[in-house]
């Protein structure tokens, strides 16, 4: 087997029932249901090697979570072939289930009324982790996540961030080789997001675990994943290096200018594309290769109060990809991955 995770033309269709709004609609749906097929995932293929960290990007309902669920053996593929660690996930063999973990920011496995440690002990027994190993693993997770006093507090008394730390620990006690993380930082404040992110990076470094991550927070993906897979409406839009995508979609830097007097826009246009201009500020898109030259020339010719270079916002780039404004991405996918 060449790759740790192989997905070949995976499709997953759901049947959902539809309901018109209001009482009449509900009554009608109670007696005669109308069904509709939703193509959650449609012909998606990719391979992932051991130790890679891959970010799944896509708007809500794009099929990211469905793909993760197929990989975890929760859902039967409608068609296509999936292979992880040499196993077919939906057969749910114990030897496979012992080697990966699934963390979902929106769902929790910790027992609500008990301290996290009780869930840990149950998981230890379920995964048959030897006592000595368990102590060592728990110690490591404790060091990395600073669980300390949390372990003895009832889960219902923990804050969202504290709970997420414990969820991660509970999910990693059997030292899985593959981590499926679905929105692990959802709802957390910026500091806690960064903590979780650092933890995931460190865990990957130490144990060479493969990580697939979905997140709404671009910062998570930017910080962790060199490679991204963009999915929208069930279809794969891009698979490859994150930086390469940015350079491809946004081959410019963003130059923010501040003036003392309203500038001459026509004069500015010779240095780059004027993306925005109002009153005393302007934003220019300057080709990446000439960014520094252009800035120097601009400074010598136009009176500027303040000047600032920025990378284009990743959110904007991804939005462009989703909006279908970027052609020929898929044909590049293979090349991008090879580079």
């Amino acid at each position: 087997m060449a790759h740790q995770i192989e997905v070949d033309r995976l499709s997953k269709h759901y049947q959902v029932h539809e309901k018109e709004p209001g009482l009449m609609g509900s009554l009608r749906a109670f007696f005669a249901r109308k069904y509709r097929v939703v193509k959650a995932v449609e012909g998606v293929s990719f391979n992932i090697d051991a130790g890679e960290m891959v970010g799944f990007l896509g708007p809500n309902g794009a099929g990211k979570t469905t793909t993760l669920k197929v990989l975890s053996g929760l859902l039967y593929p409608t068609s296509g072939r999936v292979n992880v660690l040499g196993f077919i996930p939906h057969q749910r063999q114990n030897e496979y289930l012992k080697q990966f973990t699934l963390v979902m920011g929106q769902k929790q496995q910790l027992m609500w009324d008990l301290p996290p440690m009780e869930t840990f002990l149950v998981n230890r027994a379920i995964y048959e982790v030897p006592k000595g190993d368990f102590a060592a693993i728990l110690k490591e997770l404790d060091d990395l996540l600073e669980l300390g006093p949390l372990l003895k507090k009832q889960v219902r008394k923990l804050s969202l961030g504290e709970r997420m730390k414990c969820e991660l620990a509970a999910a990693l006690l059997h030292r899985p080789k593959v981590l499926f993380l679905d929105e692990p930082t959802i709802g957390l404040d910026v500091t806690m997001q960064a903590r979780i992110r650092d933890f995931i990076a460190e865990y990957n470094r130490r144990h060479g675990a493969t990580v697939i991550l979905t997140s709404h927070y671009m910062a998570d993906v930017t910080a962790l994943c060199e490679r991204i897979i963009v999915i929208d409406r069930g279809r794969l839009l891009y698979d490859g290096n994150f930086r390469a995508l940015i350079e491809r979609v946004a081959p410019y830097k963003v130059l923010k200018l501040q003036f003392e007097r309203p500038p001459d826009l026509a004069a500015l246009a010779q240095f780059g594309t004027v993306a925005r201009a109002d009153g005393l500020t302007a934003v220019l898109h300057v080709p990446r290769a000439h960014a520094t030259d252009m800035a120097a020339r601009l400074l010598s010719q136009v009176e500027v109060d303040d000047i600032n270079f920025e990378e284009p916002a990743v959110e904007d780039i991804i939005r462009q990809v989703f909006a279908g404004q970027v052609d020929g991405l898929l044909s590049e996918t293979g090349m991008a991955r090879a580079s």
């Binding site: 929760l74 039967y76 114990n94 979902m104 769902k107 027992m111 027994a125």
Partner: protein, 261 residues
């Protein structure tokens, strides 16, 4: 062996949860005593008008009432809380965590959370049975006890399977709480000997929703009235229903749609 240890661990965790809520425990104990009392007084009223009901004297019927209370305890302790939990997990999609664990998913889903308070009902049930035997001045011999034990195991398997089938329906129908209620109502007939009922109802309570196998037949076996046919039927019913429930569960897991994101 591994499963016995896991079950022990599940019980321990459930017990710890209950210890968190002491007041609830006291209330539950009172509810149990109250309902056992209601059943006993009800039977007393019945027998004040007649000597036998469906061929059972009051003291004999006490054995059924004891078993009814005991099995009710089994349902309240082990089946109902887990079935409710399964329904909820299917609705919210948290069954994901059960299905991704390297352990039999039906075992884990159906025995994870027990409501230990209701053990009170099981103890009350045993007490009523012992009291009944005492009043009858009857001590079953070893063979009878062994038969009774087998009948009891089959009774538990039958109730377990019925509850699991209801829970499994939730994979398609999502909310099946009312079906659980429906079973509880039918189960209420178990406090009377099945011979009290006539014709179709009696057939239904024997073969469709086999309440007879849960209280009446085990009581008969304890009293030493059981014939071999009923014993075999009970074993067939228990093993058959259990197998069916397990197959149904496996089929359902295939069509699990994992709600939420």
């Amino acid at each position: 062996m591994r499963y016995a240890r896991l079950f022990g661990l599940f019980l321990k965790a459930s017990f710890l949860v209950e210890l968190e809520y002491r007041a609830n425990f006291a209330a539950r104990a009172m509810v149990s005593v109250f309902w056992a009392g209601v059943t006993l007084v009800g039977a007393g009223v019945f027998y004040s008008h007649t000597d036998t009901v469906g061929g059972w004297t009051f003291d004999e019927a006490l054995v059924i009432i004891g078993l009814f209370t005991f099995m009710g305890g089994v349902i309240q302790t082990f089946l109902q809380p887990n079935v409710q939990r399964i329904i909820e997990m299917i609705r919210l999609g948290t069954l994901d965590f059960v299905l991704t664990k390297p352990v039999n998913s039906q075992f884990m889903a159906s025995l994870r959370y027990s409501q230990m308070f209701s053990i009170v009902d099981m103890l009350l049930g045993v007490a009523i049975v012992v009291w009944a035997l005492f009043r009858l001045r009857y001590a079953p011999d070893l063979l009878t006890l062994a038969q009774f034990a087998l009948m009891l195991v089959m009774a538990i398997l039958i109730v377990y399977s019925i509850w699991m089938v209801i829970a499994t329906l939730a994979f398609w129908l999502v909310k099946v709480n009312n079906m659980a209620e429906l079973f509880n109502s039918v189960y209420d007939t178990g406090r009377f000997p099945v011979t009290t009922f006539q014709g179709l109802i009696r057939l239904a309570l024997t073969f469709v929703v086999p309440i007879a196998f849960i209280t009446t037949f085990p009581a008969q076996s304890l009293l030493g009235w059981l014939d071999a046919t009923t014993l075999l039927a009970a074993v067939a019913m228990g093993v058959g229903l259990f197998t069916a429930s397990a197959l149904f569960w496996r089929r359902a897991v295939r069509s699990y749609s994992s709600a939420g994101s």
